[in-house]
């Protein structure tokens, strides 16, 4: 995976790239307005971050407490070391219940574990019921954003897709009409489903409950119909107390989409009287991140999507350019933790502008973590050798002020002398779309010295 290449491809369609940028900026602007309504916003971020830090520092205790409480309420708690174990557990629960048709609401964890292909291969019929997720499922592609899975798709394309798959009117791209058609089809899936799979936004250690947020109500439709509910969550979703939800819920939807809260915020404490609740706790690399102090607080993430919306690079390269389940700044950090070699271009897919850090509702120092990953990538010698050598050479030059002066002067005079075609040859990446600055005859230090000398002379004369 090579982010700059994918990004350039995305940008090649300038009109579409602009549309994408503006769609996400619109969401960012809504977020700004929602946040501005809350005078204690920065305090909320501060406190939420503190609670997350506390939880991560006591994760073992809280996980055990959660398991105990959830079990007391009648839920079944499962533990999965990695993605494949998670998938096996889910499959075996489904098999034990003779379930074949499954409705699934949004869960980045199941995306991360590639649950859908796993179950489909095993003969299960799985329907993603979040409209955006369903659209990308029908298109056979991964979501391009964690909160707005289909943000990269135009309504005309949805119209065409639905025309082919659902038989909607050809050429209709009216969101109302298309949403209504989806609703009708999905309603059948809900009614026929044997099991519901959901993600988890928060799991409360103190009470053993789980909280699931949606706008469409699709998670609740799922868990309210078939009696079997499987909730899949990464172990970092734990929070200590129910009252902490107040903080996180106040931040989550405002940060993500600019809503004061999602339309539905469901609190499940134990299974339905006539059903079963299975909660699968998944590690899949999280305990590894926990061990690395520099990257530990990336586990604070509540998956609001704000860092994507605000990221000027994400907006201009699209979620798919990252090649990882979670794109954007936080995705680049998590992908690096998964496989620094395969994803090594991602920490560099940032101008380090820091907008992500300022917007993150749980105060993750995202751009500093990206920088820390760059150090790690260099330390592990993953960064291509020529780049490392170039930096070493530059460092050597800069350590020798006199050589630096000489080199600067020579380069500038060469730069002024050589013909434009040579200066702007194809190796000059800077110069593809940009002029180089006009090269001055004298450096600053030269000018400064000369001036100082002149002054001294004057002083002398006096």
């Amino acid at each position: 995976m090579n982010h700059p290449q994918e990004a350039a491809r995305f940008l090649a369609n300038a009109k579409r790239a602009k549309w994408h940028d503006e769609a996400l900026w619109f969401v960012r602007s809504k977020r700004d307005m929602a946040a501005a309504d809350i005078p204690e916003w920065e305090q909320l971020r501060q406190q939420a971050s503190q609670i997350k830090a506390h939880t991560i520092a006591n994760l073992k205790t809280y996980l055990q407490q959660f398991e105990q409480k959830a079990t007391d309420l009648g839920a079944h708690v499962h533990w999965a070391r990695d993605a494949s174990e998670h998938n096996t557990i889910v499959q075996s629960i489904l098999r034990d219940h003779g379930a074949r048709r499954i409705v699934k609401s949004k869960s980045m964890l199941t995306e991360e574990c590639q649950l859908n292909p796993h179950l489909e291969n095993a003969g299960f019929e799985i329907t993603d019921t979040d409209l955006g997720e369903w659209i990308v499922q029908l298109r056979n592609e991964p979501p391009s954003h964690i909160v707005l899975p289909a943000i990269h798709i135009k309504k005309e394309e949805v119209g065409e897709l639905f025309h082919q798959k659902l038989g909607t009117r050809q050429g209709s791209a009216d969101p109302d009409y298309l949403t209504e058609s989806a609703r009708n089809t999905l309603r059948k899936s809900f009614l026929q489903a044997d099991a519901a799979i959901t993600g988890v936004n928060f799991a409360i250690a103190e009470t053993g409950g789980i909280v699931i947020c949606t706008n469409e109500g699709n998670a609740d439709m799922g868990t309210g119909l078939p009696g079997l509910h499987i909730a899949c969550m990464g172990i970092e979703k734990i929070i200590p107390r129910a009252e902490d939800l107040a903080l996180f819920l106040r931040l989550l939807a405002r940060s993500g989409t600019g809503q004061p809260i999602t339309a539905y915020t469901a609190h499940h404490h134990g299974p339905r009287p006539d059903g079963q609740l299975h909660i699968v706790l998944v590690d899949n690399g999280r305990t590894e991140i926990l061990k690395q102090e520099a990257f530990r607080n990336s586990l604070h993430c509540i998956r609001c999507g704000a860092c994507m919306n605000t990221c000027p690079v994400y907006r201009r390269s699209g979620g798919h350019s990252y090649g990882y389940t979670i794109p954007g700044p936080i995705g680049s950090i998590l992908a690096s933790a998964r496989d620094p070699k395969a994803f090594y271009t991602l920490p560099y897919a940032s101008s380090l502008c820091g907008s992500c850090t300022d917007i993150c509702p749980v105060n993750i120092d995202l751009h500093h973590q990206l920088l820390a990953w760059r150090s790690e990538i260099t330390r592990q010698k993953i960064l291509p050798l020529p780049k490392r050598l170039a930096m070493a050479a530059l460092s050597h030059l800069m350590r020798r002020p006199r050589l630096y002066r000489l080199f600067g002067a020579i380069s500038r005079s060469i730069g002024r002398a050589i013909p434009r075609t040579l200066l702007y040859c194809r190796f000059n990446v800077w110069g593809r779309q940009r002029e180089l600055p006009p090269l001055p005859k004298k450096s600053f230090r030269r000018m400064f010295q000369q001036e100082a000398a002149r002054r001294e002379e004057k002083q002398h004369e006096k």
């Binding site: 205790t61 996980l63 949403t179 609740d220 009252e243 609190h267």
Partner: protein, 206 residues
């Protein structure tokens, strides 16, 4: 729990070492929630922005009158009402064995325990609700909340809520909605197309 999962649990827990640090103490309960001079007005305003409707009524009589003006009620044939004095039910949950049977429910009317001014959310539980799916499968949902239980912000709400027993509870803020097609807001994505919240001044008889 299956044997394998047992082993995985141990291995996950073994790879976590809790580290104690004063820097990461659990902060005390937040005490800085925003408050409004007129929480009822704030609640109504926010609910409107998220696509719902809040109607304040002084008493049961006024509530009945307002109900009569809801245009989706007249043609509705399948109604579940938790408060028959307000609206008669045509659907009997006690005799509805599976939630799927509720697929053509037109209207659901239930009581909300509390409401939150800050975000226009109403807290509803399934304590007296055999099939909680009525809240989602109905085309139109009506919630009845006492004016006295409109709170300022979420912090206040969680102070009041308790989660000791097996139960389902949900904050509902507006009807079902999506903006997944080019950020165009559409109501009635999967669940209810409308949400009406009655704020009743006079405490409804339990």
């Amino acid at each position: 729990m299956k044997k394998n999962s047992m082993k995985s649990k141990q291995s996950i827990l073994d790879s976590i070492t809790d580290f104690e640090s004063a820097a990461w103490e659990l902060p005390p309960r937040a005490t800085f929630g925003i408050t409004y001079d007129d929480p009822i007005a704030q609640f109504s305003k926010i609910l409107k922005t998220v696509g719902g409707t809040a109607i304040r009524v002084p008493n049961t009589q006024a509530l009945l009158e307002e109900l009569a003006t809801l245009d989706f009620l007249a043609p509705a044939s399948n109604i579940y009402s938790a408060i028959p004095e307000f609206l008669p039910s045509t659907v009997d949950l006690a005799h509805t064995d599976t939630p799927q049977q509720l697929h053509d429910l037109d209207v659901a009317l239930v009581r909300g325990e509390l409401a939150v001014a800050e975000n226009g959310a109403v807290w509803v539980t399934d304590e007296l609700l055999r099939h909680r799916v009525v809240l989602f499968i109905a085309e139109h949902v009506i919630l009845i909340v006492s004016v006295a239980s409109v709170l300022q912000n979420l912090h206040e709400a969680y102070e009041q809520l308790s989660f000791g027993k097996p139960q389902y509870g949900v904050f509902i803020s507006g009807p079902s909605k999506t903006a997944d097609i080019e950020q165009s807001l559409v109501f009635g994505a999967q669940g209810p197309r409308t949400l009406t919240v009655f704020l009743l001044d006079e405490e409804p008889a339990a």
